[in-house]
């Protein structure tokens, strides 16, 4: 095809290409499985080993430099960490004591015990590729038993849920993403609401009545009612409360407990919706 012929046909080619994109958009926009499309799984599966390899090289170089600078402050940090160990040991002992009491009470009241879920560790090798979505890509996939909608967390608290998974990767929607949501409650008052992402590394806890007494620093945990996150996982702490006397709801801003904007290692809770359904019924 000569240059002139190609140029003459260009509007027609444009129309065909745009129409194909419109069809692609329409089929994907409303489809609940759209994040799991064949094209996405195929492409990210192919790209993942390369990105993961490059990430490992960059991380090791960066770690070499940062370990040198970190050594300079090792003495002060060591003293701080020893203090923290003492404090955490005391807290752990208290928690163990409470756990023992709780186990006795659960047995006396014939309540079912809390289920323990299997978890696998994963490395984050890609994060927030574009401005619009808060997403992580981790190096575990279906070959490791990861499935869609499985929760992802750190020792500090929850990070998000798996929205797309291939053999060697899983894409995680972080709780601060504008389109993310989960059932959560205030740990003290047990008032239930919904947590939504605010895109600025913060979340908002919605639907908490202004009649509820909410304190800054109070912990927010999952309710387990969204059938994705098991009950009692730490979401974050209340950072600020905007109480409008005329509004029926508080505006509560939450700081996520997990460092979602810089997390490097996470673990995936191998829990499925059917397991959570069984937990609810207590079977």
């Amino acid at each position: 095809m000569s240059a002139n012929t190609a140029q003459r046909k260009a509007p027609w080619i444009l129309a065909v290409l745009l129409l194909s994109q419109v069809i692609l958009m329409s089929t994907n926009a409303r489809h609940p499985e759209s994040e799991q499309s064949f094209l996405r799984v195929w492409l990210v599966t192919a790209f993942s080993p390369v990105v993961h390899g490059a990430d490992a090289v960059i991380s090791s170089v960066r770690d070499t430099f940062s370990s040198y600078t970190a050594n300079r402050h090792a003495r002060e940090e060591n003293a701080e960490l020893r203090d923290q160990i003492d404090q955490l040991t005391a807290e752990r002992n208290k928690a163990l004591e409470r756990q023992a009491e709780l186990d006795v009470l659960r047995t006396q009241l014939a309540l079912p015990s809390r289920p323990q879920y299997r978890e696998i560790a994963a490395n984050v090798f890609s994060r927030d590729a574009v401005l619009w979505f808060r997403r992580l890509t981790i190096d575990r996939g279906t070959l490791d038993g990861v499935k869609r909608d499985m929760p992802v967390a750190t020792a500090g608290g929850i990070v998000g849920r798996v929205i797309s998974v291939g053999p060697n990767y899983a894409m995680v929607q972080v709780i601060t993403d504008k389109h993310a949501g989960l059932g959560a409650m205030l740990q003290e008052s047990r008032a239930m609401g919904e947590v939504h992402g605010l895109d600025n590394d913060r979340c908002e806890l919605k639907n908490i009545s202004t009649r509820e007494n909410v304190e800054v620093g109070e912990s927010v945990v999952t309710t387990g009612l969204d059938r994705i996150y098991p009950k009692g996982l730490l979401v974050g702490t209340v950072e600020s409360i905007e109480a409008d006397p005329n509004a029926p709801w508080h505006r509560i801003i939450i700081k996520p407990a997990a460092p979602v904007d810089r997390v490097e290692h996470v673990f995936v809770l191998l829990v499925e919706q059917k397991d959570l359904k069984l937990d609810e019924t207590g079977k």
């Binding site: 190609a6 290409l17 958009m25 994040e35 590729a129 619009w132 979505f133 890509t137 504008k178």
Partner: protein, 173 residues
């Protein structure tokens, strides 16, 4: 060979888009598949511009997340418009290329946000946020294009030579 080099450029752009924002936060404001689209659009071949735009756009949608086809639609259109503009106007000099990138970036952001809004998945809440995002993205894309286009000119030296010839031809005519 040329097709292979173009495919390789798109793949490298997508890989870097996946990798770099983890280390450089500001990289989220930069759209490498868009810059590749604009570069090939500026080669005075609208068909090449739009086909590159479609492949880079759909690939971007796949690796970055979001609704498949939205990025493909906006970049196909931008590839075509830039290709047609480069045929009719003199866009070979670096300053003109910089302006084209800035306008293409703003158009791409507006189309991307608008299409998501139409598909009931809003990405921005206020007009001021929308305006600020367009501005920052246009700045990020323009600055990155200064480096990226030089690298691509070296990689596609024949196209760069043809571009220089076109500048001379227009100048002497």
């Amino acid at each position: 060979m040329q097709t292979f080099k173009i495919a390789l450029t798109i793949i490298v752009a997508l890989l870097l888009q996946m990798l770099l924002p983890k280390y450089l936060n500001f990289f989220s404001y930069i759209d490498l598949p868009l810059l590749v689209t604009v570069y090939f659009g500026l080669q005075r071949e609208p068909v090449l511009g739009m086909v590159t735009g479609m492949i880079a756009g759909v690939g971007g949608d796949a690796v970055e997340g979001g609704i498949l086809g939205v990025g493909g639609f906006s970049k196909t259109l931008i590839g075509y418009v830039v290709g047609m503009a480069s045929v009719k106007l003199s866009l070979e000099n670096p300053l003109a290329r910089l302006s084209v990138v800035a306008v293409a970036s703003a158009a791409n952001t507006a189309l991307f946000v608008g299409l998501h809004q139409m598909l009931e998945q809003p990405l921005v809440s206020t007009w001021s946020e929308f305006g600020a995002t367009i501005g920052w993205k246009a700045l990020g894309d323009s600055v990155t294009s200064l480096v990226m286009f030089v690298a691509l000119d070296r990689f596609f030296s024949e196209q760069a030579a043809a571009r220089r010839m076109a500048i001379k031809k227009r100048f002497y005519e």
